[in-house]
């Protein structure tokens, strides 16, 4: 018979409720403010549903009618400088946080609404309608509401997607020592997704002041929480991660407020994250103006039961009973809220021939479509650019590439206290798995963060830090293939944030990763990610092929206000080349290719470790080829001037890359070339890339799967033969 010993969780899990004494102690002004905010939100949401019913809201309108208590109860417990983000259903939280930011002293139920409240209502409605005057200039709509000034970091249409970003903001608060906290709101459905669970673990490990606020409204669209998890008491998740957790009746606004005060005390004391699970109910379906019962997944009786506990009614009744408010004041408050929403809607919508429509002049200009996909690089004004050929300082011709990687980061971290390095094992093993972060954790122990193995969480956390702006995160993917693990954060969040939120919010993040083809790590560790990143316009990509270029391009990546992927290669780590001896402060422009070898018969476009391999083949064959090291690989960074001049000279193009065919980089580039330079081409653009299959672990199969010198030679022979200049047989 084995022994059994009951283990106890390291954190508490408790339900919190408001007593009669708590209600009696509720300050009339706070109670009044709660009532006003809930009425504003409900009238706003009703207007959105009305417009949706008239077909005036393009896309979904996820209403939060019935859930106002959770949003208002929590937002009123926050400081103006605290921050929130949320999910696809977040109008109520966005408005609650904005209102408490605008009116820190509260709003009296009988007072007229001032211009600020009116503007907030109008700009929020305009955003939901997709209009130029919206908070995100109409780009974000209902699901991407951001007003950074008020502490609204931006809401998110990916379930759980905003949670890691919120942790990044929390990290910044902790590091800055402000005592501020971040609330990340999400629903019962999101509680089961990896981003949320990974972030709970990371936030607890690093004691970040973040509150995971779960609005448990019972339904993920139509799937009931009891169908989705064995323990539908979702605050139980805190026990797994050592996070103090509260369960509270979300229809009781005061109880939510009290729960948040408890949570805030813990977080502001530096004791780490908290979880609040608020039981709430959305009166309507996932989106649109019909109740859920209309779709058959729940009953009218259930809806009626919850509606009897309506948070607005409960608060009004309490205030009436305490004779703080009269029945008439509450009715007038309701009428004024409805009138306000009618007024602001009328300024956005007109009736023509009996039909309502958006006032045409309010739409964004079509030319705004791509504005702000990336920053304007004005941060590079006046910086010192250098190239190896014209470098004035002294060069060590035999520098090891990997040492330069560590040296330039050391230099930048000495000069810029904002830089923080994150990744798996970056703080150990004498500089991570390859020595790229050598010496950093000794020199800057609190800015070199070894992460748990949770790429999605730490990438999103870095994205949140970058969006916050006080710090400059540098994350490392030990292998590029891990981008798929972190794909939501890499592409949906970090890559799209600037554009999606209106085009003027920075995302200064650097992602380092190494291409590891040739190391025998097999199918899931051997990709070249350039082709995939090139599909994401928010990302900039640099691929330094020499130590000298690494310094300049890394400096530029760290200066840039956009996310930059810095590609490295294991073959280059061990290589030697010229590197500056003492000047590690120059830049190389993002968007400047380098002509490595000049020639007249074919333009070879290549990057990273293939540059030198290509050069050796060309020299060996004695071909009059021009080799261009692209260096900047993203669409915006492609040095079109250099490429165009070269192709117009040679009339023939070969694109050389190492990786597998499917994820390869050259396809879109070939497409651009044939469309833009068709009349200058003497033959189709030819490409060298790896096999269809990902490289295998077997040494022979791996070698066969990656593009090799003999592949370059074969392609060059074809390129020459097809322009009528066949080479002599080998």
């Amino acid at each position: 018979m084995p022994t059994f010993t009951d283990l106890t969780p390291s954190s508490f899990w408790r339900e919190i409720g408001a007593t009669r004494e708590d209600w009696a102690a509720l300050a009339p002004a706070l109670g009044g403010t709660m009532l006003v905010e809930m009425h504003l939100i409900r009238a706003f949401e009703e207007k959105v549903l009305e417009l949706a019913g008239q077909g005036l809201v393009h896309g979904p309108a996820h209403s939060a009618i019935g859930q106002e208590g959770g949003a208002v109860g929590s937002a009123l417990a926050l400081r103006r400088s605290d921050q929130v983000n949320g999910s696809h259903r977040a109008h109520h939280q966005f408005l609650a946080k904005a209102l408490s930011y605008l009116k820190p002293d509260g709003i009296a139920p009988a007072a007229e609404f001032d211009g600020n409240i009116r503007d907030l209502s109008k700009r929020t409605l305009a955003e939901i309608l997709g209009l130029a005057q919206g908070f995100c200039k109409g780009r974000g709509g209902s699901m991407h509401l951001r007003w950074a000034q008020a502490g609204n970091l931006g809401t998110n249409a990916i379930v759980g997607g905003g949670v890691p970003m919120a942790a990044g903001a929390a990290w910044a608060h902790k590091r800055a020592g402000t005592g501020d906290v971040v609330y990340t709101y999400f629903g019962d459905g999101a509680t089961n997704i990896g981003s949320v669970l990974e972030t709970m673990n990371l936030a607890a490990a690093w004691k970040l002041p973040i509150c995971f606020f779960i609005e448990n409204n019972r339904y993920a669209v139509s799937t009931h929480v009891e169908e989705a998890t064995a323990d539908p008491r979702l605050s139980s998740r805190g026990l797994a991660f050592g996070i103090p957790a509260f369960k509270v009746d979300g229809m009781d606004t005061l109880a939510v407020y009290l729960a948040c005060e408890e949570a805030n005390r813990i977080m502001r004391a530096g004791e780490g994250p908290t979880i609040i699970e608020a039981d709430v109910y959305r009166y309507f379906h996932q989106n649109g103006p019909l109740p859920g019962s209309a779709f058959g997944y729940r009953s009218k009786e259930e809806e009626a039961t919850w509606r009897k506990r309506d948070p607005l009614e409960a608060m009004a009744q309490e205030l009436r009973e305490r004779q703080v408010l009269s029945e008439r004041t509450v009715e007038e408050l309701r009428d004024r809220c409805v009138a306000l929403m009618n007024e602001v809607a009328a300024e956005l919508i007109e009736t023509v021939d009996g039909k309502r429509r958006i006032i045409p002049a309010l739409w964004p200009e079509e030319s705004f479509r791509d504005f702000g996909l990336r920053g304007d690089l004005s941060e590079f004004d006046g910086v010192r650019f250098a190239e190896q050929e014209t470098f004035k300082g002294s060069l060590d011709p035999e520098a090891k590439f990997i040492d330069t990687v560590a040296d330039v980061m050391t230099r930048r971290m000495e000069k810029d206290e904002r830089i923080v390095v994150l990744g798996e094992d970056v703080h150990r093993l004498k500089g991570g798995t390859n020595g790229a972060t050598r010496g950093l954790s000794q020199a800057f122990p609190d800015r070199v963060l070894g992460t748990p193995i949770s790429e999605n969480a730490f990438t999103g956390l870095a994205g949140g830090m970058a969006a916050d702006g006080r710090f400059r995160p540098v994350i490392e993917f030990m292998y590029p293939d891990f981008m798929w693990v972190a794909a939501d954060q890499v592409f949906n969040q970090v890559g799209k944030a600037r554009h999606m939120f209106g085009g003027d919010s920075d995302m200064p993040l650097v992602l380092r990763t190494k291409v590891a083809m040739g190391t025998g790590y097999g199918s899931q560790h051997s990709m070249d990610p350039a082709g995939i990143f090139a599909t994401a316009p928010g990302w900039r990509i640099v691929a330094p092929s020499t130590p000298f270029d690494y310094v300049g391009l890394m400096n530029s990546a760290l200066l840039c206000r956009d996310p930059v992927l810095v590609l490295e290669h294991v073959d280059l780590y061990a290589s030697k080349g010229a590197a500056p001896v003492d000047d590690l402060d120059y830049f190389i422009p993002l968007g400047k290719a380098k002509v490595v070898r000049s020639g007249a018969r074919v333009t070879i476009l290549t990057y990273l470790a293939m540059v030198e391999k290509t050069r050796l083949v060309v020299e060996d064959l004695g071909i009059d080829a021009e080799i261009i090291d692209l260096r900047s690989l993203d669409r915006a960074g492609l040095d079109w001037a250099t490429i165009e001049a070269s192709v117009k000279k040679t009339g023939n193009v070969l694109i050389v890359e190492q990786g597998a065919a499917g994820t390869s980089y050259g396809g879109w580039l070939a497409d651009e070339l044939q469309r833009c330079l068709f009349d200058w081409l003497d033959q189709p653009v030819r490409r060298v890339h790896g096999a269809e299959a990902s490289p295998s672990i077997s040494k022979v199969l791996e070698a066969a799967a990656c593009a090799r010198p003999q592949d370059i030679e074969a392609a060059l022979r074809c390129v020459m033969a097809d322009q009528g200049l066949p080479l002599a047989a080998a």
Binding site: G651, F678, D679, L681, D682, Q683, D722, Q723, G724
Partner: protein
Amino acid sequence: MPFEVLLPSLSAGMEDAVIARWLKAAGQEVAKGEVLAEVETDKATMELEAEVAGRIGALKVAGGGRANVNDVIAVLLLDGEDDSMLAGETPKQQPRKVAEPAPAPMIAPTPTPELAKPTPAGPRHSASPLARRIAAERGINLSRIAGSGPKGRIVRIDVERAAQAASTPIVVPQPAAVSAIPAGIGDYEAVPLSPMRRTIARRLVDAKTTVPHFYLNADCDVDALLALRAEINEGRDKGEQISVNDFVLKAVAVALRKVPEANAVWTDEAILRLRAVDIAVAVATDGGLITPVLRDADQKSLGTISSEVKALAIRAREGKLKPDEYQGGGFSVSNLGMYGVKSFTAIINPPQSCILAVGVAERRPVGRGDEIVLANVMSCTLSVDHRSVDGAVGAKWLAAFKAAIEHPLMLLV
């Protein structure tokens, strides 16, 4: 997908060929490497081997028919494919009767002979975008150009070569004039032009009209040579006997070594002085003249030269020369002495700079001291390209040749 058998380029500059004979018929199985057809180029008859195994689906060019390089001449059905695959293929093989787009006004005004005769409804020409653009800029008609790219695609270098040729002020015989049958010639037999005959015609017109020839003559006393030859050949099998021409070739090699300036190739950019002494030897064949090349003649003995030239001549007459056996060389020798020709002048074989025309060795009265005696004399005429070789150099070379041929013992060391 059936495999298309393309007519390969068998020699540099080859544009077309005649499929002399198919060795396989439709429906027959073919192993990889098996001979499909004999292909007669302008220089030689070659065997075309199958690149893959399969079954002949269709022969696209009849035996005796002409095809351009990179044309599909046959289709091989691969394992698991049947004739239905072929049906899908067939339309692609048909020459597309697409009307040539009317010349755009921007290129029309260029008054070149090429453009003066636009083809109203010729085949569509496969040409790279760059080649098309350059052709449009320079007013060059793509229908007159053979492509050296894949499947006969006209690429930049083809247009540039055509532009260069067009800019050379020479009189190109108009095809119309050639095809016109002269009046009053009576009954005749039309001999179709073989690829070889066409090449000979084109190259000789080119040489005679573009190369500034001058001629140097010398009479060589070959008594000593004939005596030595008789001595060497005594007891040798008839098939292994050393000919006068072998001595001539050896003497040419010695002279080229002494005066290397004559061993030259003219290009527009530079005169190429050749390091190797490679001598092209004119051989008459039934199809016409061909010039196989004797490599490194200066390093070879008379015996070696003799046997190599014999072998080359045999292969030349059989049409079996490989491209590397008739390409190159810096100097040619044409010997008509065996026909009793006393002396003649030869047309230079471009891009070489010199050709030596050798007449018969016959007994003639010559002055020897104060006496007139009969001696064996051979008249030789050197034709020289004045662009690359000046008169004095030519004279120096001819003197060196004369000295060598008149002192044949020198040729043995």
